[in-house]
């Protein structure tokens, strides 16, 4: 009897503590559930923290200034001598100027965005256009190049080329965006953007150099996701096409592309929402002016880069300009959220089920 028990591996023996085992099981499941639902909790928290200041932005007035006050020059500073706080004339309440709450009509109906100035203009369109233009530039670079890389790696590249190219791509994906930002500022701006733009002289800060660099930044991600989508195409389809005498190019365009389209589309949308939310590169390379323009050769701000710019400390806390950070943040959140929803729809719509 003893010999029989000892021949069974230890971990297969009945423990004799089934009650305790179940309790541990339930405890572990509960912890895992909390962790799994943290996404929901965080999202709710973000939305909540954005909604409240945004609501105040559209409903409450804020202090905008105190009128023009005397400027103290070099001579005055010597004449007035030392002033103690008790000798300074204090401003009374009547001198305080207030900014009225921004209406939704102004926010979405005006094309002037100068929130940091006294009276302020709060038309969000320059930021939306800037975001769209930089996203467009980035996708014009990243989408064709990314899909091209994916096809090359999965269909044409030999074992050796793949062994080298794939890790390099992954390394590129790990480069911090601030490095890309300086790459844009000191290389792409002066060497590329300046020379390829035919419409006006491009300065050191431009939407073009930011857009190009954002495109390069999302390229590895685009390529990897597209590669995954292509790899998911059943081998039987590809082999079947070859068996029918199709050339490699015909297999790529006629079989793999339509079969992997849903995955590729999803990859494009994910890459685009990454481009929309990119802050550091645009902040460094595209300047700090939000102008109503479709000319990529000029300075521009995206929604994300405006938030970064204003958050650094150019805005007094609780001014209207400060509240714009949250209003723009909420808008950005809604847009990227919408894009993600769309990508799910797209995946469903274009999915081709074979097995």
């Amino acid at each position: 009897m003893t010999t029989l028990m000892s021949s069974i591996p230890t971990d297969l023996r009945p423990s004799g503590h089934i009650q305790r085992q179940r309790r541990i099981e339930r405890f572990v499941v509960a912890i895992l559930m909390v962790i799994a639902s943290s996404g929901v909790i965080i999202t709710t928290g973000i939305v909540f923290s954005l909604v409240q200041p945004t609501y105040r932005f559209f409903t409450e007035r804020a202090i905008s200034g105190y009128g023009n006050e005397e400027f103290v020059g070099v001579e005055e500073s010597a004449e007035s001598g030392v002033r103690d706080s008790s000798e300074l004339g204090f401003a009374d309440e009547s001198q305080i100027q207030y900014a009225e709450p921004v209406t939704l009509g102004e926010f979405f109906g005006s094309t002037a965005w100068y929130p940091q100035y006294g009276d302020g203009d709060f038309g969000v369109w320059p930021l939306l256009v800037g975001t769209f233009l930089i996203m467009l530039t980035a996708s014009l670079i990243a989408v064709p190049a990314g899909v091209g890389i994916a096809f090359f790696l999965s269909q044409y590249a030999g074992q050796r080329a793949r062994r080298i190219l794939k890790p390099v791509l992954e390394v590129l994906a790990g480069v911090p965006t601030v490095v890309f930002g300086f790459f844009a500022l000191f290389f792409v701006g002066p060497n590329i953007a300046k020379n390829i733009w035919p419409f006006n002289e491009v300065g050191i800060y431009s939407g073009l150099s930011a857009g190009i660099t954002v495109g390069l930044m999302i390229l590895p991600m685009m390529a990897t996701l597209a590669d995954d989508a292509i790899s998911a195409v059943p081998n039987s389809l590809v082999e079947g096409a070859f068996a029918l005498g199709a050339t490699k190019r015909e297999v790529c365009t006629g079989v793999i592309l339509p079969a992997g389209l849903s995955g590729i589309m999803a990859a494009i949308i994910i890459a685009l929402s990454r481009a929309i939310g990119e802050t550091t590169i645009v902040l460094l390379a595209a300047g700090s002016q939000a102008v109503w323009t479709f000319n990529l050769g000029k300075e521009m701000q995206t929604m994300a880069s405006y938030i970064g710019f204003a958050g650094i400390g150019d805005q007094p806390v609780d001014s209207k300009g400060y509240q714009t950070i949250f209003a723009v943040g909420l808008l950005l959140f809604i847009i990227t959220f919408g894009l993600n929803m769309m990508s799910r729809k797209v995946v469903k719509r274009f999915r081709e089920v074979y097995e």
């Binding site: 105190y66 010597a78 401003a91 305080i96 940091q116 006294g118 203009d121 400390g313 806390v317």
Partner: protein, 386 residues
């Protein structure tokens, strides 16, 4: 029997003698007045016999001299006069912290003062000198923190506004205004720009908000090139922005045009003007001198010919865009934290040398007179025992 620990301790004392930064009151000291010292020891104090010596920059030499003969030299000098007072304050400042925030224009000056003060207090109290933290959040942002009681001293590139003073008063914070240096606002352009001098009328035309605001250089003066105008400005919460609104003669900051790339970081302006042929921007003179290899500083003309911003023209008021810079110590900190009083005293009594080392325009004589009034006032504040 001596332990290893004791041996090590002796070793440390020995090194301290060699380095010449021995604690005041220690029996031996290697250096004497007239001996050489080093940059990192500047304003360190040491005791020789019964008198004190301090490491100072030799007059006539400079940290920034291009002439190698005038390159900075440092020597121990015997301290006379107000030493005892200074020393009392410094000794009481052992291991304290001072929080400074505010203007990014004043920050380099305050940082040099802080560095010197730290080395001075370190030489008195051993390793634990006074820690001075200098933050940069713009004049407006600095006063916001100051009036909430978060900082001991606020740097400002313009005088405090009565509205800001009102907020301070509401929070029970009293302060003393001390002019600490002068500054010329430098108008800088790209190195390839042929323009080298502008009249104030042209400055006004360039920066004033207007429906017909110029978009090309030739719109301002027809003899200038037709390069597109690209404006870079100081952040809207900064004192430099406010001061430029007044000094550029457009009639206050609310009348400045808005299609300007603004940033609290002057480096953004330097990069922009450097990389854009039609670029133009403004910031403190010391920053323009520091970046003389990247941007060109314009001369200005208010009717009596083109004037270059220099120490003399800013002090004399012939350069049109000059302004004083200030520090605002909190009276409560002066009373309760002896380090703050000691720092302000130190800063003010060495202000000429500190301004020079930090490439700032020193105060004029009449301003120094005004400042010494401030120091008397601070000294007269009812003292609490540390």
């Amino acid at each position: 029997m001596t332990t290893i620990r004791q041996k090590l301790a002796r070793g440390v004392v020995a090194t301290a003698v060699v380095a010449g930064t021995l604690a005041v009151g220690a029996p031996v000291f290697a250096a004497k007045a007239g001996d050489k010292c080093e940059l990192k020891q500047v304003y360190s104090i040491a005791k020789v016999g019964t008198s004190y010596i301090r490491c100072e920059i030799v007059p006539g030499t400079s940290l920034h001299a291009s002439d190698p003969k005038k390159k900075a030299q440092f020597k121990w000098k015997s301290l006379t006069g107000k030493t005892a007072d200074l020393q009392w304050q410094m000794a009481s400042a052992k291991g304290a912290n001072i929080r400074i925030d505010g203007s990014s224009t004043v920050a380099p000056l305050a940082t040099v003062a802080a560095k010197y003060f730290e080395s001075a207090t370190k030489s008195i109290s051993g390793k634990k000198g006074v820690k001075v933290a200098v933050g940069i959040s713009g004049t407006g942002g600095g006063f916001e923190k100051f009036c909430r009681g978060e900082t001991d001293i606020s740097n400002a590139s313009r005088a405090i506004k009565s509205s800001e003073a009102a907020i301070c008063q509401k929070n029970g914070i009293s302060f003393t205004e001390i002019p600490i240096a002068n500054d010329g606002l430098a108008l800088v352009v790209n190195k390839n720009n042929p323009v080298s001098c502008m009249t104030m009328a042209e400055v006004k035309k360039m920066w004033a908000a207007s429906s017909s605001a110029p978009t090309k250089w030739s719109d301002i003066n027809s003899s200038w090139p037709s390069t597109p105008l690209k404006l870079f400005g100081a952040g809207t919460d900064s004192g430099t922005f406010d001061a430029f609104g007044d000094l550029s003669t457009v009639g206050g900051k609310d009348k400045l045009r808005k299609d300007v790339s603004t940033s609290e970081d002057d480096n953004v302006t330097v990069r922009g003007v450097n990389g854009d042929t039609g670029g133009v921007g403004y910031f403190g003179l010391s920053y323009a001198i520091e970046n003389a290899d990247k941007v060109k500083t314009l001369k200005l003309d208010k009717g009596a010919g083109c004037v270059e911003p220099t120490v003399a023209t800013v002090q004399g008021g012939t350069y049109p865009m000059s302004r004083p810079l200030f520090i605002y110590p909190k009276n409560d900190s002066l009373l309760s934290n002896p380090a703050v009083g000691a720092f302000v005293n130190f800063f003010a009594s060495n202000v000429k040398q500190i301004s020079e080392d930090a490439v700032f325009v020193p105060l004029t004589d009449s301003q120094i007179k005004a400042m010494s009034g401030a120091l008397l006032r601070i000294a007269a504040l009812p003292k609490k025992k540390p």
